[in-house]
Symmetry: C2
Subunit: 389 residues, 2 copies
């Protein structure tokens, strides 16, 4: 186990009717709130009206800032920062999925500095303070509601970067599984894939050979994510399944799974960020489409880890002497699960032709260089992409 | 899954040489520290001198408050509170096992009130503020280093009560596995049993039938605890094993395992608190001695949970149609493990004769009543004790 610091101060309110606490919880953080949200679903489901009602009752004024898209954009964050200054906002609320909560984080941090907010994402500036932040999760997947990360896309360069800082933990996160009953099947599945890929990234990349606490935690969470996703797709209003998926996705990337594993470079996510930056692919769909290439890559580069994962997830692949066969069984079983939940499992399914591979690979290698991960050449990524046709 | 609030703001510094950070971390919390510790082992191992050196270097003055025993006493906490007031202490450091850290917590909370500190433990008063607290764990088991609980024994009445409040989380916890290399085998094993029993208590008592996230987490942690304990006993200086046990014990009772399980009454611990209150038994030894009775009790009252646990811990007991046989196999396998790590597995082994059972049962039922758990009669506890002869 490698040395680590674990510090996650977010207060999580989990369960039925917890949204009702948003008024009093926000009031603890400030009296003038900016409410960041996405497209029309929050309004259509009635959640937006509920939130505004609870805030009003608690004496919190609320400026709306909607229209955040998947793969959120820098330009939108800059607008949000201007709005915070114009309306003397004291607290930011992000109510939605990872894109919304990440936008809320970027506004909360960007409002406190004179420089452009993009400098956080290219590593040129660090965070020193943020406005207080409350997150309401309506789409389990990113884990942003209880972590210190945020991801943003530059409108022109199409660079999509993640950035983490301890001050980006929301003060409070409200996780009410009933708010996810209305999620379309597609988004439910993409969210589950995202959460599972966070864990896969850690599990398959760690170089530490002796991390049984983390390994069992991660195997358990992947199993939960798969099982809960299937149950949610079978019955979108299965409260227990929605709760299981929501808590699993939250724990998958709240710092616990990675604690003790050493430095993890999140290379799978880096490549997907190219896809969603360049093609505006939904993040979970991009990850699913890339998984065939990644799993084959790990079968070559980290066969012992993939074999261990297979034994944990698909017990039937865990026995027998022929490791090659066990690895193939694990990959097939995993891809079979992706097909069962009806997510794309190839770049072709995303209408990304193979002649684009060099461009994607070069773009990803460029992203890697900005964060000083110089060992990842375009050829490295082209090789992965080859496996995803 | 039941509704829950999860909020654990403790910052954990985990790993080799992390003790060196105690100076700067304490300095963030205050300039005048009370250093609470136990018997002579902290001095003998050189850790005490190291701590004092680091504090001095960081400009923190340090008043020593040693001599805390296992099953810590109210009288000692009262002395500590007087010392805090006399020396105008600003921050409390607890360096040791659960008894030391719990004493430090009680001093940190008791120093802020005019009433007697025992009123917290009998539920007559709640905590409103504490002095800041830093914990250095040298004995994995209690989990006190990263949780909001504390346990104390009344010198005269021999009542031993646990009490929890969110303000009792240490601000900072330093977990350096190398500090546990010198732990005697007995204490290593007692600590592991304590950590595992925290999880067993949750796992076997929850009334919620659908908690897969928590179940997998708990099964993984129990497995880790058992495995790591065996490795530590085989080689006390096995860093990875010490690290695994330390992080397992911390996660076992930091709020995560219980989140979503609903109300858990900790009845196993209540009965053990009678033993250690009345006979000054080491807590882990008392738990081990009581486990035969508890496991048979749960085989009758919660057979489905015990069978599920058996399948998770001892795969060979998890198959076959005959549930009775599987339950017996699980109990035997677990008791066999306790014997292998050489902890007492009967009250006789602790020199507690069966004619004392009525007295212990009556005492425990009295403890239960103080916290309004009136359904637990002396007869209920006598029945458990019968199974532990």
């Amino acid at each position: 186990m490698q040395n680590f610091v674990f510090h996650n101060p977010t207060k999580v309110l989990f369960g039925r009717q917890t949204l009702a606490a948003i008024g009093s919880e926000t009031r603890l953080l400030g009296k003038r709130a900016l409410l960041v949200y996405g497209q029309e679903s929050l309004r259509a489901s009635g959640t937006l009206a509920q939130i505004k009602g609870h805030l009003h009752q608690a004496g919190v004024s609320c400026a709306e800032f909607g229209g955040i898209q998947a793969n959120p954009l820098l330009s939108k964050v800059r607008q949000g920062i201007l709005k915070v200054r114009a309306e003397e906002i004291e607290v930011i609320i992000g109510a939605g999925g990872g894109s919304v909560i990440d936008t809320a984080k970027a506004i909360a941090a960007g409002s406190m500095v004179a420089h452009d907010v993009w400098k956080f994402f290219t590593g040129k500036k660090s965070v020193r303070a943020t406005l207080p932040l409350l997150a309401v999760s309506t789409l389990p997947g990113s884990g942003s509601e209880m972590n210190h990360g945020m991801v943003l896309t530059h409108d022109q360069s199409r660079e999509k970067f993640g950035f983490g800082h301890r001050l980006l933990h929301p003060q409070t996160a409200i996780l009410d599984p009933e708010l996810t009953f209305s999620l379309p099947a597609e988004q439910t599945a993409y969210g589950a894939v995202d959460a599972i890929c966070h864990i896969l990234e850690f599990y398959l990349s760690t170089q530490d050979p002796d991390t049984p606490v983390q390994d069992r935690l991660m195997e358990g969470l992947i199993n939960n994510g798969m099982e809960a996703c299937e149950r949610c797709l079978a019955d979108p209003c299965d409260y227990e399944a929605r709760a299981s998926l929501m808590w699993t996705a939250c724990l998958a990337l709240n710092g616990l799974t990675a604690a003790g594993l050493g430095r993890i470079e999140m290379v799978m996510h880096l490549l997907e960020h190219s896809l969603s930056g360049l093609y505006d692919t939904p993040h979970g769909a991009g990850l699913a489409a890339l998984l065939p290439g990644w799993l084959h890559h790990f079968a070559r580069s980290r066969p012992e880890r993939l074999a261990q994962l297979g034994a944990g997830l698909f017990p039937r692949s865990g026995t027998g002497d022929d490791r090659e066969r066990r690895l193939n069984h694990c990959i097939e079983a995993f891809l079979g699960w992706l097909e069962a939940i009806q997510v794309p499992t190839s770049l072709e399914a995303l209408q990304i032709p193979s002649q684009d591979h060099p461009r994607i690979a070069a773009h990803t290698s460029g992203l890697a260089k900005v964060w000083r991960m110089r060992q990842y050449s375009p050829a490295f990524f082209e090789d992965i992409l080859q496996g995803c046709r």
